[in-house]
Symmetry: C2
Subunit: 218 residues, 2 copies
DNA sequence: GCGATTATGGAGTGTCAACTCCAATCTTGC
DNA sequence: GCAAGATTGGAGTTGACACTCCATAATCGC
């Protein structure tokens, strides 16, 4: 509840609940290994179907270590949300920071579709799937998810705003709404792609919003 | 695996796994009560967090009854998917069957937004949330989810097609793609609305695709 | 009405999950 | 180098959960 606004990538577990005030280099590495293992398992099977013991085994640590770094499963899941948000931004970063041309938007769409193709359409959105599972169940997780989506949406919003300022889009184009619609199309497209096991829904959902953005060209 | 194509609303549990070949009137009522209770709990808390015992208690039946009508939890969840799809179609039915004018599309959007408003933005899509949880985990559930989405998408697709045939939309408008984009916007909008607890994402996501449909007016 | 089938009650079982405890070992600041 | 504190191992506990079993009561076809 205290550090949602700053970008806080890794120091998420350091709140009043987490016992260790200072982490040694080895400790940080162990903690990171736990979070990475948990993130992978949650991405593959969801929060509820990911057992602490699975994480423990995958990360190669003992139970006491896990509870040394995280007060409980909920706190670990919050660390996973932060980790996955970092991962999304890192992977999309070069493109995401320059979504200020039609060519860049199309490249971004191609990248997203190609990624799902590689995964054979399994797995949805790394944070969207968690949101579906936890948004109504864990208020703290919800807050972190809101922050995660915001970190994702911001560069999209800013890219479209630059297009408008530069004169590529009409002065009265609602770029904030278009950015939000793009994110929603991505989420919905991913869900349908995951369910139907074909990339068409994702591609078509994104293309439809991109077409709408193009109608706003100046 | 055998009855995805016909509309099969209620006779879903009657496959080789379900012991009872014939259900008496009372039996059907009990089975329906179980499915309804399960659907409500799953909608509120997800599949994994819904215990058989919770369903049992909520429906007012004993454990043996539950396993008399359903081979296991997976089969019950498949019945829930069918039940929720029926529910979605029933609620939206009057509108859904006549989505063949801009006015009707807007009325439908208003209804969807109002519904989430009533729910204070809690709960996502009755089948979308299940899809996020089960699509990669249970192949049979995935098949039923695909069928469910198709039953939902079909009337949207057909409404837009009628608009094109009637000349409201251009002859080269890709109404199938627009219908799919609308469903994706709905799913993504619901997820973001559920997470952020405001209806704006849902409304904006739908409005953006509606605007794109309007650009295809003849 | 009567035999066969279906519907119900409720106690019981085995497994697995999250989490705890305590003792032992490294690391670090000084 | 030496305490203080950080890090680790692994067995143990507690509860929840999906599912089973067997006996009894209702219902249906004829």
């Amino acid at each position: 509840m205290e550090c949602q606004l700053q970008s806080c990538a890794y120091d998420h577990g350091v709140r009043e609940t987490a016992p260790p005030r200072r982490l040694t280099a080895k400790g940080r590495a162990t903690r990171a290994r736990i979070v990475a293992a948990a993130a992978e398992l949650v991405f593959a099977h969801g929060v509820a179907r990911t057992g602490i013991d699975d994480v423990r085994r995958e990360a190669g640590v003992s139970a006491s270590q896990l509870y040394h770094y995280f007060a409980d499963k909920d706190e670990l899941m919050r660390a996973v949300i932060a980790h996955q948000t970092d991962g999304i931004l890192e992977v999309q970063r070069p493109l995401l920071d320059h979504l200020d041309s039609f060519a860049a938007l199309e490249q971004w769409r191609d990248m997203l579709v190609a990624l799902q193709e590689e995964r054979h359409c399994t797995g949805g959105c790394p944070i969207g799937s968690i949101a579906a599972e936890l948004a109504d169940e864990d208020p703290e997780a919800r807050a972190d998810l809101v922050a995660g989506f915001e970190r994702w949406e911001a560069p999209i919003r800013e890219g479209l705003a630059r297009m408008r300022e530069r004169g590529d889009l009409r002065a009265d184009a609602d770029t904030d709404a278009l950015a939000l619609a793009l994110l929603a199309a991505l989420q919905g497209g991913l869900l349908l792609t995951q369910t139907r096991r074909v990339t068409a829904p994702l591609r078509i959902a994104l293309d439809t919003v991109l077409a709408q953005i193009r109608t706003q060209a100046a």
